[in-house]
Symmetry: C2
Subunit: 490 residues, 2 copies
């Protein structure tokens, strides 16, 4: 074999082991018996050690030196392998191991602390994680700015300054929109009654098919916190049911099917190469968000969904399409990010971003975190946080050291905004399709513009190729302003 063949073959086996690790993690959330946890964490540790060692393997440097890529695809593969190899070798093994062990423990403590609404049990662990992440960031950063070293792991090339600029544009307009809505005379109720879990699931599976999820290459199961897992021909979706809130199940499913659609529709020639999965979290989240919100919560699609829910649930008491549309789009300043509407969601992200910046730069310490959170929450949401479980303890991310991850959620919304603007003009019948529950054309458009390319292009290039324009904040903000002004004032 030539050097490039050896390199790709070695990389393929690493990807295969990562695929096994991903499915083992899936099993942990979906299938694992109650007492299997201790064995499982040891299994994951053993697998991850093997994978980590492979990523650092010195032979990669040699193969990279000798590799002669000829096609654009091969050049990009080499670029991505090189990036991964350099990344794996930037952080000393001792630090990487310490981080893995500390965050694994910290996550377990966080779960208990959140359950008990008690930050002080968790704070010594979070302190350790934060210190290790600061140390790691110092190894990773290329700009000197610590936070840049962290976000780069989730959204390659993105920087603190760029995100700050984006958020500085968004924040006043979102706060303004939020204020305007609070003055509306339209008051939207919530859905009432109990909704059979198995019917919720059956309907969600039907909707997954409507969104063109391929069940021959995946499956749907229930979990506590929904996620999507896998690439290519084995991409699994998870969802959850809430007896009182059937929309939780339906929109969790559509969201995860958005992620799955990306992974199921990458060019199959890219399978088991560095090109074979989604390119970044910000692009991935755009695919889940556009399915969930721009399409799934559109006035047009909710007409179809209203009909199907009425047919499915005998006790369904929402009176008409318009009431239904309003209920699934109700704007309300809640404490919990994952339950937030399209406007408040981004305010949740900005709050976390500002706190992450402060904590990584040592402007504040872990002991200041709860106060800082509550003060910011008051200023953004105009509400007092009473339970720390509804505040600084609500998300898993910090417990596992995932600083720099949150901004990619809003980047996803912004990317979805850019894509939806172009999709609408490319697909003049879109509204009509959505009213009839036909998602095929929208999904095919996304496959052509985004999915099929896998990791072939950098996020910003991909958006530019897809839309013919540079990435911009404007389409998403305008979409929100138009949608919610119409919804609350017409």
């Amino acid at each position: 074999m030539s050097a490039i063949e050896e390199l790709f073959d070695f990389n393929k086996k690493t990807l295969l082991l990562q695929s096994v690790a991903g499915r083992t993690a899936w099993d942990q959330e979906t299938m694992m018996p109650k007492e299997g946890a201790a064995l499982r964490s040891q299994e994951m540790g053993a697998l991850e050690e093997i994978i980590h060692i492979r990523k650092q393997d010195k032979r990669i440097a040699d193969w990279l030196d000798k590799a002669k890529p000829e096609t654009e695809e091969d050049k990009r593969k080499i670029e991505l392998i090189k990036r991964g190899f350099e990344r794996a070798n930037l952080v000393p093994v001792k630090l990487a191991t310490e981080l893995a062990e500390t965050s694994s423990k910290s996550q377990i403590v966080w779960q208990e602390a959140r359950k008990n609404n008690n930050f002080s049990d968790f704070s010594p662990y979070l302190e350790k994680v934060v210190n290790l992440k600061r140390e790691e960031a110092a190894h990773l950063t290329k700009t000197g700015e610590l936070y840049d070293g962290l976000i780069n792991d989730y959204e390659h090339g993105m920087t603190k300054n760029e995100i700050s600029e984006i958020f500085n544009i968004m924040k006043p307009r979102l706060l303004n929109l939020k204020k305007k809505i609070s003055e509306s005379e339209i008051h939207i109720s919530k859905i009432k009654g109990d909704f059979d879990a198995s019917k919720q699931l059956a309907l969600s599976k039907e909707i997954a098919s409507v969104f063109r999820y391929d069940f021959d290459r995946g499956r749907i199961d229930t979990v506590t916190h929904p996620f999507c897992s896998g690439n290519g021909n084995d991409v699994r979706v998870t969802t959850r049911t809430d007896l009182k809130d059937p929309f939780n199940c339906i929109y969790s499913t559509i969201h995860e099917v958005g992620h799955a659609s990306y992974e199921q529709n990458v060019n199959s020639n890219y399978n088991l190469t560095p090109l074979g999965s989604g390119v970044s979290l910000g692009i991935h989240e755009s695919q889940s968000r556009i399915f969930e919100n721009q399409l799934g919560r559109s006035r047009a699609f909710t007409k179809w969904l209203f009909k199907r829910m009425k047919e499915t649930f005998s006790n369904f008491d929402i009176k008409n399409e318009e009431e239904f549309y309003r209920i699934v789009n109700k704007v309300s300043p809640g404490f919990i990010r994952t339950e937030a509407d399209e406007i408040h969601y981004n305010l949740h992200i900005m709050l976390r971003f500002e706190l992450e910046i402060a904590i990584i730069s040592k402007e504040i310490e872990v002991e200041d975190l709860v106060d800082a959170w509550n003060t910011k929450f008051k200023s953004f949401f105009n509400k007092e946080v009473k339970n720390v479980s509804d505040g600084a303890l609500q998300d898993v991310h910090w417990s596992i050291g995932a600083f720099g991850y949150f901004p990619t959620y809003t980047l996803g919304n912004l990317n979805a905004g850019c894509l939806f603007q172009t999709m609408k003009s490319d697909l003049p019948n879109l509204e009509n399709n959505l009213e009839n529950g036909e998602i095929g054309p929208a999904k095919d458009w996304l496959t052509k513009k985004i999915h099929q390319h896998g990791s072939m292009y950098e996020p910003k290039n991909l958006i530019k190729k897809a839309t013919g324009r540079e990435f911009s904040v404007e389409p998403f903000i305008s979409y929100l302003e138009e949608k919610f002004t119409d919804l609350y004032f017409n």
Copy 2:
């Protein structure tokens, strides 16, 4: 770390990776989407390569040299690691890889060939497998007898001669018993009607609990060919349902729960050490068989089961306990091993053993196999094989090169015979317990005598420790003679 600690730690990680591989194989049969197969076989290949390399790792030799085991347990662990290391290094890597690749292909071809009832499609692949296995056997054998090298992988220390001696005692007595039964005037019907699959499953799960399967450390799913997978705190059972035959589901479940009971009840200090799972196939099969047959098909337990099935299935038309007992123990010379009664099952094994001996020693070749099978089947079962799918193509074993595996099924029956003899005298209330669906005392007896010891003792020692006697064919044969003479002549 000392040499022995390093050795045990290295071994533990290999066991963890094997545990992941086992669960990945479980997923393939239970959860994997239809199109996931090609990815899966590559994943399994990558994992197995890693595991194989670890088993051969030269550091093991060094650690073994330096290790100073002090306890009996540590001495046994060292013995087993040494055995595995020597085994892994006996076969040249090239041959091992060729065998893995060939048998993987061969199995796929076999599946199709069996479906199409066409041996000639399969025979070129089987020829390759047989030639490679002969070659492998030459590397493995310590006695000069090729077959000994193969059976040793499944039942350590067992030889062709010893099995021949055992089978030579059994065969005339089984044939004699079979002949006698064929002259009985009692004719046993089959169960009639359709039986709801979900009710079969629910009842099977209840029965699994009755047999003390721990659902907190396992789960039950359905597959085409039932099996049990995993050790310690994550031991999963699979079963199947047949609309026309609820006993298939029930007795498959009890059988696999027998295997699971062994794995769930090994001393937890042995977890993730070489002692942490069942010691041999012949002992493992004794645990599944004693649950399924000596206990599950006993007159006493079938009284309880009759009652529960009558309560479960509204269309259940078996009239009384005695008819029920006869139906689940009906003796009938069928073509298919996995559907055979307790007598014919062992004749199936003997037939395969004789053919394996002949083919590995080159007495016959693959091209002679179908004729040889059919001739032997006629002489053992007095029936003509019409479809090769019901004959030489029925089992997966040869397609994957598992020559030497079949005899362990009958060894399992014989071990179960030895154990049951002692269990009955140790537990005077056994019959009464079984009539009331109380399997606890029998299961606890097996845990004390067998399960808890994991791989601490060699099979024959284990049986001797459990029964106070040397292993013998007699208890099982006597059990069969008594049970079926009573059943067919009283």
